[in-house]
Amino acid sequence: MSETDERRLAWYRRMLLIRVFEDKVQQLFMSGRIEGTTHLCQGQEAVSVGAIAAMGPQDVQTNTYRGHGEALALGMTPEVAMAELMGRSTGGSKGLGGSMHLIDTARGNIGANAIVGAGLPIAVGAAMAFKLRREPRVALTFVGDGATNIGTFHESLNMAAVWQAPVVFIVVNNLYGEYSPVRMTTPIDDLARRAEPYAMPGVIVDGQDVEAVHAATWEAVARARSGAGPSLLEMKTYRYRGHSRSDPAKYRPDGELEAWKARDPLVVLGTRLADEGLLPLEAQAALEADVTAEVEAAVARAESAPYLSMEEARRHVYAG
C-alpha cells in the first residue's frame, strides 16, 4: 500500500475514534456519569484530523473548549482524554482542566481555551517565539465562526500579518455560535473574506473532506514555514450536536442536520476508501467495533483512576 493510502486509512481511523469518543462522552454527560458540561465535535472530525495531519512533529496548535477532536488527532490517547474529562489525575491536565481544556504539550497541544478568541494571540506568540529563534516551526490555531467577531481575532491576525508570523488560522465555520446562526452575528457568509484587510490569503475549504482539509492546511503550513507569513483557512463544516450538553439545538432549520450528515466526513472518505478497495464497508464496521472497544476500555481505566488531592492541585497554581 502506498504511504499516501496508509495515511488516508490512518485518517479514517482517527476520525472514527473521535466520533466514537464524542458519542461516548455525550452519553456519559447526558446520563450524569460526568458532571458539568461538554462541547462536542461530531461532524467536524475531518477538520481536526486533516489540519493536524499537516503539522510537523515540532509544530504546535491552540484550540478551544470544543477541542477533543484536535487533542485526539494529535495523538492524546482516549484514556488520557477521558480521564481529563472525568477530572482524574491521569488526565492530560491531571484533571484540573476538564472537558474544555485538553492540553498536551508533548504533542504540540499548547492550549484549549474556554474564552472565545483567547487562543489566537497565544498561537501568534508561539509562532513569534519560533521566528525569533530561527526555528522552522509553525503554530496553528483553531477558532469558531462566532469567534471571528471578537476583538482578539482581529488583533491576532493583524499582528501575525505585520510580523509575518508563521501561523495558520483555522476558522471552523460550523454555522453557529451558541444558538446564533452566522448571519445573525456576522455580516458575511464566507469567513475567508476576513483575511482581506491583513493582506493574507483567505481560503475556503470543504471541511467535510479530510483530504481537502489536509491539502489546504499543508499548503498554508508550508507557506508559513517558508517565511511567507500567515494564512486563514475557512473550514465549512457542521456540528451535529447542540452547542453544549444542555442545548437540544432546536434553532436549526428542518433538514439541515440531515443534509450535512449526507456529507459526513466518515462517509466522504469511507466511500472513497471502499470504492478504491482500500477499506471495504465490512472492514469499516470491524474498525468501528475495534475503536468502540478501545474507547470503552479507556472509559473503564479512566474511571478507576484517582483524583488529585487538594494539596496536589494547589501545587500547580505557581511554579513553586
Binding site: G87, G98, Y251
Partner: protein, 337 residues
C-alpha cells in the same frame, strides 16, 4: 410561580413565590413594560430565552428591544454606553461573569467615568447582569463571581443578589438608576424559590437582614447567603443565634447595617465566594477596624482558599467553594474564641 400557601414563613401580602430565575425575568419584563427606553442585549439573549433561560418570553414580547449581539463583550458594553447617552436604558447580559474582564476597558474607563469627564453632560444608565458563581463543574475560566472586580471604581455601583426578592429588587433599582450598575446573579440560585414583591425597588446601598440573631453576625452575598442561612440553622440547634445579612451592594457598602449588627453581636464572619484579598469582605473588615467598631473577638472570613484556583473535579470544587459547614465552623470558633 407558586401560590402564597407554598411559602414557608412570613410574606408580604402582595408577594408571590417565584424562582430566582423567574424573579430576574420578571424584573426585566416589568422594566421593559414600564419604559420603552429599556433594552436587553447580549449573546443569544433573544434565542431560546438566553443560555441560562433568564429571558424567557422577553424576545417574543418586546421584539427588537431584545438584541442578540455578536461575541464581543468590550464592544457591546460600549454600544450600551452609546445607547444610554442617547436616552436608552440598556441591560447587558454577561453570560458568565468570567467575561467581565473581556470588557475591562468599558467597565473601568468608560461607563463609570463618562459622566464625570463630560462634566455632568451625559448620563450612563446601563445595567450589567453578570451570571456568576462556581459549582457548575465548568472549570477555572467559567466559575467566577467577580463581585469585587470593579467595586473600587467610583462612578460604578455593584450589587449581588442572594435571594429571589433581591434579584428582582436590585435589577429594578439598577435599571432605574441614572448611573451604571453591575448586578451579579448566581447560577446555582436560579432554581431557588422565594417571595417576590413585583414593583418593589431596592434602595441603593442598603443591605438586608435575612435572619435576625444576637450572637454572631454573618455577612454574605450570592450563594453564600443561602449557605449562611443553612449554617444559622445548624448553629441554632447548638444554641447559637446567628444574624445573617445579605449585603446586596458591595458598592456602596452598607457599613451602617453591618456595624449596628456587629454592635449587637460583637462577632463578625464574612462569607464570600471569592478570595479574601481585595474583596468586599476585606473592605468591610478594614472599614470596621478603622471605624473602631468594637468586637469581642477578631473577625473571621470564609472565602475561597488563598492561592487556589477553581478546579474541575467535583470533589475539589466543592471543597474550594465555601460551604455551610465552613461558615458554621467559623461562627462556632468565633463564639468559642
Amino acid at each position: 410561580m407558586s401560590t402564597l400557601a407554598e411559602l414557608p414563613g412570613r410574606m408580604a401580602a402582595d408577594a408571590v413565590v417565584m424562582t430566582y430565575r423567574e424573579a430576574v425575568t420578571a424584573a426585566m419584563d416589568d422594566a421593559l413594560a414600564a419604559d420603552p427606553a429599556v433594552l436587553l442585549l447580549g449573546e443569544d439573549v433573544a434565542n431560546e430565552g438566553g443560555v441560562f433561560k433568564t429571558n424567557a418570553g422577553l424576545a417574543e414580547k418586546y421584539g427588537e428591544r431584545v438584541i442578540n449581539t455578536p461575541i464581543c463583550e468590550n464592544g457591546f458594553t460600549g454600544v450600551a454606553l452609546g445607547m444610554a447617552v442617547m436616552g436608552m436604558r440598556p441591560i447587558v447580559e454577561f453570560m458568565f461573569a468570567d467575561f467581565l474582564p473581556s470588557a475591562g476597558d468599558a467597565l473601568v474607563n468608560q461607563l463609570p467615568k463618562y459622566r464625570f469627564m463630560s462634566g455632568g453632560q451625559l448620563a450612563v444608565p446601563v445595567t450589567i447582569r453578570a451570571i456568576s458563581g462556581g459549582g457548575g463543574r465548568f472549570g477555572t475560566q467559567h466559575s467566577a463571581t467577580g463581585e469585587s472586580w470593579f467595586m473600587a471604581q467610583p462612578g460604578m455601583r455593584v450589587a449581588a443578589a442572594g435571594t429571589p426578592a433581591a434579584a428582582y429588587e436590585l435589577l429594578r433599582a439598577a435599571i432605574l438608576a441614572d448611573d451604571p450598575v453591575i448586578v451579579h446573579e448566581h447560577k446555582l440560585l436560579y432554581v431557588r424559590k422565594g417571595p417576590v414583591r413585583r414593583g418593589a425597588v431596592a434602595a441603593i446601598g442598603k443591605a438586608s437582614i435575612e435572619r435576625a440573631g444576637t450572637d454572631v453576625t454573618i455577612v454574605a452575598t450570592l450563594l453564600m447567603v443561602e449557605r449562611a442561612l443553612q449554617a444559622a440553622e445548624t448553629l441554632a440547634a447548638e444554641g447559637i443565634d446567628a444574624e445573617v445579612i445579605d449585603l446586596r451592594w458591595v458598592h456602596p457598602l452598607d457599613l451602617e447595617t453591618v456595624a449596628a449588627s456587629v454592635g449587637r453581636t460583637g462577632r463578625l464572619i464574612v462569607a464570600e465566594e471569592q478570595w479574601h484579598d481585595a474583596g468586599w469582605g476585606a473592605t468591610l473588615i478594614s472599614r470596621l477596624a478603622m471605624a473602631g467598631v468594637a468586637m469581642a473577638v477578631p473577625p473571621r472570613n470564609v472565602s475561597l482558599p488563598d492561592e487556589t484556583l477553581i478546579a474541575y473535579p467535583p470533589l475539589l470544587e466543592d471543597a474550594i467553594l465555601p460551604s455551610a459547614e465552613r461558615i458554621a465552623a467559623a461562627a462556632r470558633a468565633s463564639i468559642r474564641a
